[in-house]
Symmetry: C4
Subunit: 283 residues, 4 copies
């Protein structure tokens, strides 16, 4: 706080604008930033298309320099306005901001390093922060809780899938390695197994032997069958939560009772001092 005091006024103002979103100025800043980020992504995309790169090369280059400079200014502003800059610089977003700004400068010294500008795509993640999208998801607490509760199971499930792919891929390698069907190495075979089990199926690698196709069919049917599992796990959490709720509710509704010595009324409340039926005093 004291730090806040002896901090020049403009800094505090700027800080508010950059890091807070509740003020009009802050909202505007975020909006501009959002537009800039998307624009920069589009720029990088367009530039990566050769035909465009050749046509509008110079224009794209200039535009990119402008954006890079704007990002640089933003980065510096973020660093100087915050109380302890280290916190920002080494934060997740801080690193991304740095990585998405520096490559353009590097392209002076190292040829090719420019293509790293593509890393700018990572800035897209800031959209979540700006639009507070997380909040919407967060709204579905049930869902998040279910996901969190089942994260171990899902991890186990995925590790199981991967192990399955390693084993099946190896087996397929033993079967198909002879043929000219792309199973040139175990890693490739494992890759193929994943492609198949997840029902993606590129077809760049595909079994040709009868036995290979038989096993492939098994993998597909397994994959098709266990698609239900993640859904099932998550649904399971949903299915079980009501139960827990019910239990909780039951606990609340079910007050401990005591019996009236006079009329043996059995459902007196714990705190009752007199039986509500016969009025007898109950200790």
């Amino acid at each position: 706080m004291t730090n806040e005091e002896n901090k020049p006024d403009w800094k505090r103002k700027l800080y508010k604008i950059i890091y807070h979103t509740d003020t009009p100025a802050g909202k505007l800043f975020d909006l501009v930033l959002l537009v800039l980020i998307i624009a920069s992504i589009l720029l990088v995309m367009v530039e990566s298309v050769e035909s465009y790169a050749n046509k509008y090369g110079t224009f794209l280059n200039i535009a990119e320099w402008i954006i890079t400079i704007l990002f640089t200014i933003e980065y510096i502003a973020r660093v100087i306005t915050i109380n302890n800059p280290k916190k920002y610089i080494f934060s997740f977003y801080g690193i991304i901001d740095f990585l998405s700004t520096i490559p353009k400068y590097l392209s002076f010294f190292f040829i090719g390093s420019h293509s790293l500008v593509a890393l700018r795509a990572l800035r897209l993640m800031r959209i979540f922060r700006i639009l507070k999208l997380a909040r919407f998801i967060g709204a579905s607490n049930n869902f998040i809780r279910a996901l969190r509760a089942s994260r171990v199971k899902i991890a186990v499930f995925l590790s199981f899938v991967i192990i399955l792919c390693v084993i099946l891929g190896t087996v397929m390698y033993l079967i198909e390695s002879g043929e000219d069907s792309g199973f040139t190495s175990i890693p490739r075979s494992v890759y193929w197994a994943i492609v198949t089990l997840t029902t993606v199926g590129y077809g760049d690698i595909a079994p040709v032997t009868s036995l290979g196709q038989l096993i492939a069919s098994l993998i597909m049917i397994i994959g098709y069958g266990i698609i239900a599992v993640p859904t099932g796990i998550v649904s399971a959490e949903f299915a079980t939560q009501p139960n827990t709720d019910a239990k909780a509710k039951k606990a609340i509704e079910e007050p401990e009772t005591k019996t009236c010595p006079g009329c043996l009324t059995s459902d007196l409340r714990k705190k009752a001092q007199y039986c509500y039926v016969c009025g007898a005093e109950v200790k």
Copy 2:
């Protein structure tokens, strides 16, 4: 209504036939229209197949002219019979009807514009209105409500998927752009990421480098894992609805209470004859 009065009788009749479906004539009109629409679609389809186009060219052309004229008559009828034509003309269906009728005429003046006849496919949407299919879906109010309730979450989920694809696509571009594996530009790489994450997997673009295949595998497993999410979100809504019901029921079942005149204890049971706190008799 006054407008209705000074409207010639035949117009009112025609209006009933075209816009109402409860009269026998209306039902017949809809049926004929339905058949015509499907016929026109089939015509356009058949015509697009070169071999057929060459064989039955003239016949197809005539048939199409007939349908076009019928559609024109329908369109005009709709315009003149309705009270304020603007409302229809600029309505969703009005525009579709117009777009699906006009191209054939344009084909006189502009060569090639004929192919726009294909837009006629949009008229298929009228099927929903004619068969009132929406009603059937609407029947499952629960389902619709669940979808509506979770539409924000689904939107967020999809935007998350898209951002993920942009980032992963860009990364893959940095890795694979050197190879001859179709990752010629970032947009294409993003396209590939979507193809992969949605487990479609054409195989027209597929990674060849080990690192590329490793990341591709990750994308597939992510895509395979998060297939559960939309289902989970929707199911979540279903799962939560019963809860609300339960609450409502609870509220109803909650027993009425009465207050003790002596100590003002407020939660005496309806049937209590003595206050369980002070033992005072309560009537």
Copy 3:
């Protein structure tokens, strides 16, 4: 029944064996039949593989004749033993049995008609009857009821999917027809749209234009998003059934009550003649 009387004894016995499965003989018959069916399928499969067909041609041919004759005997037995043969002959299984037996004989007169022997695969459906697999599924009445209850919605959903594919396919045709990317006709484009929306993705047809790939991406994400819908619909039924059960139970549990004129106890049972609190007589 009278018909049963004047029916020779051996016929009645044979009928029991063929049509009933509760007797040991009947069980044996079904088992043999099952083996024969599977054997016949394997035969047809093996024969369709050229290399094998050339090697073991004669053997396969003999084996097939044996099975054909056995099937013929079975068919005749079924016809003569049943009371009104028409019922069987024109029944679903009767037609399948006929179709799976006759082609081999036709192969005398018409060359090539032999390949129709493949229709024998249809006999596989008899497995369901023999193993009474339906029963297992039937066991999950809830599930069947849910499916039946939601069959209209699923039909609507599928018709919606198909219409969507027709429209999107047509649009893609307008975009891609110029390129050499397989979108040679609208039917093919629609076929492609289905291949894409169902996330099958062969890749024999794939967009090459940027706009085409953009729309393709949209289709994929739609397809990926609405995979949840059928599940959602079915789950919806499950979700709603408990509710109805609950309601039913509630109705049962909720007995009408009357109030005691003496002590105003409010929850006397309908059939109570005396208040259980004060003993006052209640009319």
Copy 4:
């Protein structure tokens, strides 16, 4: 136990280390084993990549020999320390351990048999035992119970899918066998049907005739539609379980009753002081 007695001390110690995981030494042993297994898999994978095999051939060979020897020692240790070795040797893991150790030795006598080293991938399954991953899954008893309860239905469902594929594959063979579209034999066609129904879609085999593509579309939509079924079946179990719980709870909550001495009415409430039928006083 007596067996335990006259067993040398070091054996008992070693046994504890190898077969128990609760001691520090046991934990260490498992950890080392885990690392070794993963290392061995990576070795086999790397070796299967030709380029690496050529470069680091000798190093890889040595490394593999080391691991093989370590595995051999482990195997022997497991055999001699356990009370009745047969139990281990012919156990599931025992066989896997043997199969993953022996091929390297065989490679002396039989050329090529070395590639069987890939079988070592099977040892990955030991990870489940070491990490006790099963436990995590086991934690979700509900889920396991649901899976077990619905295993028959899933089996029936899969068999139904397979039969469907056989039939559709055969039909496609009859349609497409003429064309040059890969439907060279029924087995291949069935394989294609599975590839399509599971939405994998390699595209190495794809219909070219209009009729073939029509049927293919049907298969895809069926496959897309019945993806819900396994999920539905499993969810069904979840949906039904709460009901049973509810029943159980109801039984518990059911209030104890007492019998009227006068008219033997059996369902008097616990707190009733007078029989509501005959008005007799009940203590």
